[in-house]
């Protein structure tokens, strides 16, 4: 049986493989399978990792990529995702596929991405001199298990099936006639396919394990191979030491990139666009009071909406043509831990981006008042949520109190409006903050169904803020 030489990259010949190695037989079988399918050579990506198996793509006149050890499946995933029309076939070794690359095998199988993996399993790391691999049979001798291998061997096919591969088959280099058919079926499966082929390594494995000549290993493969049909009626004890060959799994399922494409089609149909919020600059510069640097610290606990309040305040100031920097910090909990949202406003470039001595502190919990009130600048302002905070007087700092959370609960029946009420009060208190700018910023950040509620909360806050100022002035 000769093969079509046009599929070979003869410039890379002679091959590196030892006499008696099974890898040439597998290479030939793969070329036959591809030839039978009649594919254009430009349409095929042949991908490998590191080791004796990894030279396979070099000898084939396809788009040939030898990647890093164990990572071929990840490279192939990127290739196939980006060019789904291409046929991607991988040639991996046993250590390559099941040891260093084991994790990638699991996840490619789980996704059912349309790759065909041919595992050239020679029970050994051949290129590095015959060390044991995850498939080295128990008690075998290798250059790192000279006293016999105490590890148990891994069944790559069983792992692939468990992880979700939709086509899995096993054969041996002895079964040269059966191989192209199995590879052909694996390639034809639109999904993750794995074909394990036991490949004799007379140099690294045979010589250490009682096989005097390469041919002895082929005889062994003939003798211990059992077809999957026959194996069905055999007991576990009878199957010990046997190699079960044939198709072990063939249950096509929806392919990963097809699912991705379906998801994209759905998103585009629904017009689900998640572009970032655009801010109009300059519409509300009416009260253009120069600001050299003004620092806010909004503090409380996670879930009070302080980060959103900080973002809204910043966006309002950008509408007023100021520069703004926002920082946030919170504990590891998503809700309930301490939360702090800092805003710096300036007409100039804001270099140092952190708030150390705020001009304005919003304290929505007693803890945050205790922690931050002493850092407020002389001449600064503290606004306390008196629902939670009983402030001590701070010298040189003006302190305003309002039951923000209580008001949110009682007036609006929604404690989540507290941050917007607070923004309103701040707007009323501070002459450089434009009510229109903050209102616009609030409305562009609030979902449609909550706009009316938050509008009312904001208006109430503004009125209360102005009253607080008036009271002080009196």
């Amino acid at each position: 049986m000769s093969i079509n030489k046009s599929y070979l990259r003869t410039s890379e010949f002679p091959s590196i493989w030892c006499p008696g190695c099974g890898h040439g037989i597998i290479t030939q079988a793969a070329i036959r399978a591809i030839e039978q399918l009649g594919w254009d050579k430009d349409e095929v990506y042949a991908v490998s990792g590191i080791g004796c198996s990894a030279r396979t793509p070099a000898y084939m006149d396809f788009n040939a990529v030898q990647t890093t050890h164990g990572r071929a499946i990840t490279f192939a995933t990127g290739m196939k995702m980006f060019r789904p029309e291409k046929k991607v076939i991988l040639f991996l070794g046993d250590g390559d596929c099941a040891s260093i690359g084991g994790n990638h095998l699991l996840h490619a199988a789980r996704r059912n991405i349309d790759l065909t993996v041919i595992v050239m399993n020679n029970y050994i790391y051949g290129m590095t001199g015959g060390q044991c691999s995850p498939t080295t049979p128990h008690e075998s001798r290798t250059s790192t298990t000279v006293f016999g291998n105490i590890d148990r061997e891994l069944d790559i096919c069983a792992v692939a099936i468990a992880a979700g591969a939709t086509f899995v088959a096993r054969s041996t280099a002895y079964h040269a006639a059966q191989l192209p058919r199995l590879i052909n079926q694996g390639i034809a499966n639109k999904g993750f396919s794995l074909i394990e082929v036991i490949s004799p390594c007379p140099t690294g494995f045979g010589a250490n394990n009682g096989y005097k000549a390469p041919a002895d290993m082929y005889d062994m493969l003939r003798d211990v191979s059992i077809s999957v049909d026959k194996a069905q009626s055999m007991s576990k004890a009878e199957l010990k030491g046997k190699i079960v060959t044939g198709i072990l799994m063939n249950e096509p399922d929806e392919e990963y990139i097809d699912k991705y494409d379906a998801m994209v089609a759905k998103i585009l149909k629904n017009g689900n666009n998640s572009e970032m919020q655009v801010i109009e600059v300059g519409p509300e510069t009416g009260k253009n009071i120069p600001i050299d640097r003004y620092e806010f610290c909004l503090s409380g606990f996670g879930g009070q909406g302080l980060i959103l309040a900080g973002i809204i305040l910043s966006e309002a100031m950008i509408r007023q043509n100021k520069n703004a920097v926002h920082n946030q910090s919170y504990g590891p909990q998503a809700r309930g831990g301490a939360s702090r949202s800092d805003v710096i406003i300036s007409d100039r470039e804001i270099n140092y981006p952190e708030v150390t001595h705020p001009d304005f502190l919003l304290a929505m919990t007693q803890d945050s008042f205790n922690k931050f009130s002493c850092s407020v600048k002389k001449g600064g302002i503290i606004l306390c949520d008196s629902t939670y905070v009983k402030p001590d007087p701070i010298e040189g700092v003006q302190c305003f109190e309002y039951p923000i959370t209580g008001c949110a609960k009682e007036t609006f029946g929604e404690v989540k409006t507290a941050n917007i009420i607070a923004l309103g009060i701040m707007t009323g208190l501070l002459d450089f903050v434009s009510q229109e700018a903050v209102e616009h910023a609030v409305m562009s950040r609030i979902p449609a169904k909550l706009k009316e509620l938050n509008q009312r909360a904001f208006n109430l806050g503004c009125v209360q803020g102005r009253q607080l100022v008036t009271r002080i002035l009196k």
């Binding site: 040939a64 703004a324 946030q328 981006p353």
Partner: protein
């Protein structure tokens, strides 16, 4: 023509994602990690709508493998990670370097080593970015100081990767990554994009690793008719591994570096303030440049002759630029959030030049950004001594 820029208020990580989209990213592979995750989150929503591919891989090794595979197939591809994930990226980053695969890696720095300070900032990966993978490999590293700059440098990373067929790293940090600032996004027609050079139509004679005069070989996408063999091995111009001839290895490794050094003027960017007559120059990069600028401004107001040098390109090092910016200086102050990773590089630059200069390195490993006062204090000490 009315092409006003769009104004957005974004986190640094969001600006990075926006920059990648503006640069035409059409493949992203990611894995969750603080403080870089927002980049993957934004792109998981936006890339599918733009006709590209997003995938969450099983780990960062896999991310980088997928990024290289997609780029070989023609994608503008990227991943984003932080400290420990950046370490896993390094393996296949080396592959991208030797087989000359354009790609962008974003590393949002956090405190290390190991899990370190997962949510807090550091500049701990300056050397990992340069030498993280084994072997003498070329790499370009850009380092933004603001959210707006993160947007623009992400685009530049893609352009440099495509122009020089090299992995390019955007080295940001948790402070810049998580802070929000105003970003002006230009109309797409005002953004200059660079795409990799394609080979001519001569499919048969294509030598995938034969360079043009600029040191960069034209790149055929896999599957476009130029069937070649590529690997992580030292190779000749055909791509075929050649281990037996030492000159092949020497020529390759030399060319991988000279394609960067011969084009350095198009790769090295920096910012200078008041350096022309400065007696003391503060060298700072990334988030630390911000309090450094504030301190230098204050020092100037006090009449002290202090300048600021900010390397935007960390690697390759701006040797000539640093020497020029410090011509009138006798002291350099380098504040950095590590134990002197860049100060060592600056010392190398002066050692090689033969010029003697005093280098004061101030370090922070507890994640707190220097205050302008700390840096100003150091400047005053220099003046008072």
């Amino acid at each position: 023509m009315n092409r006003r820029p769009k104004v957005l208020f974004l986190q640094g990580n969001e600006a990075c994602a926006e920059g990648a989209l503006a640069a035409g990213v059409n493949f992203f592979a990611g894995y969750p990690i603080t403080p870089a995750t927002e980049i993957a989150e934004v792109l998981s929503r936006r890339i599918p709508q733009n006709g590209g591919k997003f995938i969450q891989m099983e780990d960062e090794l896999a991310c980088m493998g997928a990024v290289v595979g997609a780029s070989l197939s023609g994608a503008k591809s990227m991943t984003a990670t932080s400290g420990p994930g950046f370490t896993l990226v390094q393996e296949n980053l080396g592959y991208a370097a030797i087989s000359e695969v354009p790609c962008v890696i974003v590393a949002v720095q956090r405190g290390g080593p190991s899990t370190g300070l997962p949510t807090l900032s550091a500049q701990a990966d300056v050397m990992q970015a340069r030498w993280g993978t084994h072997g003498d490999h070329p790499v370009i590293v850009l380092c933004p100081s603001s959210v707006s700059e993160t947007f623009h440098l992400t685009i530049r990373c893609f352009n440099l990767a495509e122009a020089y067929r090299v992995p390019v790293i955007l080295l940001t940090d948790a402070i810049v990554g998580h802070m929000r600032e105003k970003v002006e996004i230009p109309d797409c027609e005002d953004i200059v994009l660079v795409n990799r050079k394609k080979p001519d139509k001569n499919v048969k004679g294509y030598l995938p690793y034969a360079p043009d005069a600029d040191g960069v070989p034209p790149m055929a996408n896999l599957g476009d008719g130029y069937r070649y063999y590529t690997s992580g091995c030292v190779h000749d111009e055909t791509g075929s591994p050649k281990m037996s001839d030492p000159t092949v290895a020497r020529n390759l490794i030399n060319r991988l570096h000279s394609k960067i050094s011969q084009n350095r003027d198009k790769i090295v960017f920096c910012e200078e303030r008041y350096t022309s007559n400065a007696k003391t120059v503060v060298i700072a990069y990334g988030s630390v440049a911000r309090p450094a600028i504030a301190a230098v401004e204050q020092a100037r107001n006090l009449g002290l002759k202090v300048g600021l040098f900010r390397p935007i390109t960390l690697w390759p090092s701006p040797d000539e630029e640093i020497l020029k910016a410090t011509e009138s200086a006798d002291t350099i102050i380098i504040p950095e959030m590590n134990l002197g990773q860049y100060a060592g590089e600056v010392a190398r630059i002066f050692g090689a030049s033969g010029k003697s200069i005093k280098i004061i390195n101030i370090n922070e490993t507890g994640s707190e950004l220097f205050t302008p006062d700390q840096i100003l204090g150091c400047i005053r000490e220099v003046y008072e001594s």
